[in-house]
Amino acid sequence: MLSFIIHRALQIIPVIFGVTLATFLLAQIIPGDPADVLLGSMATEEAREQLRESLGLNEPVYVQYAIYLQKLVQGDLGQSFTFAQPVSQVILERLSNTALLAIAAIILASVIGVAAGTWAALKPGSARDQGLSVVVLFFNSMPSFWLGLVLILIFGLHLRLLPVGGMQSVTGGGGVLSLMAHMVLPTITLAAWSLAVIARMTRSSILDVINSDYIRTARSRGVGEARIVLRHALPNAMPAVITVIGMQMGFLLSGAVLTETVFSWPGIGLAMYQAISTRDIPLIQGGILVIAVAFVLINFAVDVLYAYFNPKISVA
């Protein structure tokens, strides 16, 4: 198992390199002169040239890449002019907020998705199975910003049950309860699409497994249905589902952009939205890099978890 983990960890290194290269090139291909953007159109040519010099923009591409990597290793992601702070600081301050939302969303999507998918799979073709298909189709099709706005409309404005945005109350002391209240709607919005995908995957995975010979063996020894599902079917269906959950984590990170914008949730997503609006290239670059690296690390963790559930993989 250990050698499997090390092996996979080594395989990640080139991937991360590729990610840094991609984000670096991203900035290169965006049209426009950063000097113009930073200084405005009123600046003199001298000033612009000076800035280009200091930013290393006149060097050949590969030198610029090397400088970029060097700065990355030092934690220097550049300066965000939207927030007038170093990019790394902007990201760090907001990372935990996004992580909070993403984790809550993945837990919600996984728990309900797996439960619903299993419940439907136990009676395929029945009313409840078809009902699930409809719900899944619905959640798969709606854009998250639409869902978010509708939820705000219903629960925030009409029913006045839940806050309409932000992370904490403007008035009042804040605290955990207030945080949780603020989290409900954005979490549901963020989780919706993933829930549908996970439910569908669970359903098909359970269906694959429920007709296996070993399920029949357990039944033939008098094991009850509940145990069959929980102790025999689900663990064998989980590897496929876990892979999907892992992939969903990545999508959640990117989906956060829309959800955070709709709910004014102060996370990386909202920061990215703002950065794109103001063409704050360093922040865009930094944000993409952090999200991509997070995605790679999450997938690594998923692989390890998969091997844990499936003893044959780690030995091979």
Binding site: D213, Y214, R216, R219, G222, R227, N236, N310
Partner: protein
């Protein structure tokens, strides 16, 4: 109907398991695919019954139906299943669960797929003991170790911690047998228990099953396509073709004096060790029966060398028309029995 009443009382001399007119089909309404039409058989306490047939005969489906373990879409379309006089088809699911394992146990064909790949052998084996029979974990572990010893698996303690894919084919099958006998069943059904194994392992497993059922006093139903397997272990044999019993007899009698043309043709078609290579084999001509396209009349008529016109239109009954016989056959012609031994019957010839 005195016979019926008698068997409904728990009788130590009656059959321990009896199937009457069992039918199994898939689908509903217009599109029922009938895989078992009419199977009647019985096995007495301590007796070994062989069920012989080839692909499409319905032998596995019959036994799954008796345990009410048919896959999705399958249902019993007719007949009854009596375990010591109780009709299993009338039990609730909860009551049936108690019968499974303790009343009737099943050994499947392929031990690799029949064991949960994500659970250790010990965990799987102990599961019913701990969760349904109220044993403590320690007691269950002890019992599992005893069972593994009983089936000849050395190093039981280590084996309990292994996963199925870490064991050899023969050991997996032994583990599966241990699991089947763990609740002391009255009837052990072994469905092609040796087909996926090497020849030398097959022989050992068969002898293990035989010894266990004698030592533990179980009735054994051995489902197989291999007549050699049946010859070595069983007391009586039922031959199935296209979802029906076509012949039932004591083993020795079946091999010495088969009555149904299919049985005879099957025996003749087998390659035997002492044969000369210059002799051609004598396979049964034609194709095995297709449940999707059942044939009118006797299902074997397209391939039978004794066929008469009646065979193509009327399905024969399973009966024994020989004086003093206990060897029912489903055949209009009954070609191998001397006419003098036949009882006079009103059936058209």
């Amino acid at each position: 109907m005195t016979m019926v009443e008698q068997t409904q009382i728990l009788s130590p001399t009656g059959p321990v398991l009896e199937l009457r007119g069992l039918g199994v089909g898939y689908g509903r309404g217009e599109n029922v695919l009938q895989v078992v039409h009419d199977v009647s058989l019985s096995v007495a306490r301590g007796e070994a019954l062989g069920i012989v047939g080839e692909s499409g005969c319905g032998k596995s489906q019959t036994m799954l139906a008796a345990l009410r373990l048919l896959p999705r879409g399958g249902r019993v379309t007719s007949g009854q299943v009596f375990l010591e006089g109780r009709n299993l088809l009338e039990l609730s699911e909860r009551e049936m669960r108690k019968v499974r394992g303790g009343g009737i146990a099943l050994i499947s064909q392929d031990a690799l797929t029949a064991l949960n790949p994500a659970m250790t052998i010990g965990a799987q084996m102990a599961e019913p003991m701990v969760h349904y029979q109220g044993m403590t974990r320690a007691a269950a572990t002890k019992r599992c170790t005893e069972l593994l010893d009983l089936v000849g698996i050395p190093g039981a303690a280590a084996r309990l911690r292994s996963y199925p894919h870490e064991l050899s084919g023969g050991m997996r099958q032994r583990a599966l047998i241990a699991m089947a006998i763990s609740a002391n069943p009255k009837v052990l059904i072994a469905d092609e228990p040796t087909t996926a194994l090497d020849v030398t392992t097959q022989s050992q497993i068969l002898r293990l099953i035989d010894r266990l059922r004698k030592d533990l006093g179980m009735a054994l139903i051995l489902i197989t396509h291999d007549l050699g397997v049946v010859a070595g272990v069983t007391d009586r044999v039922s031959v199935l073709y296209a979802g029906r019993v076509v012949e039932t007899a004591e083993t020795q009698t079946l091999f010495e004096s088969p009555r149904h043309p299919y049985t005879k043709a099957l025996l003749d078609s087998i390659a035997r060790l002492g044969d000369e290579s210059s002799e051609r084999l004598r396979p049964i001509p034609g194709l095995p029966p297709d449940p999707n396209n059942p044939v009118p009349g006797c299902p074997f008529n397209p391939r039978c060398s004794h066929v008469v016109p009646l065979c193509r239109s009327v399905l024969p009954e399973l009966e024994d028309r020989v004086k003093g016989g206990s060897h029912p056959v489903r055949c209009h012609v009954d070609p191998y029995v001397e006419p003098a031994r036949r009882l006079a019957s009103g059936a058209a010839r």
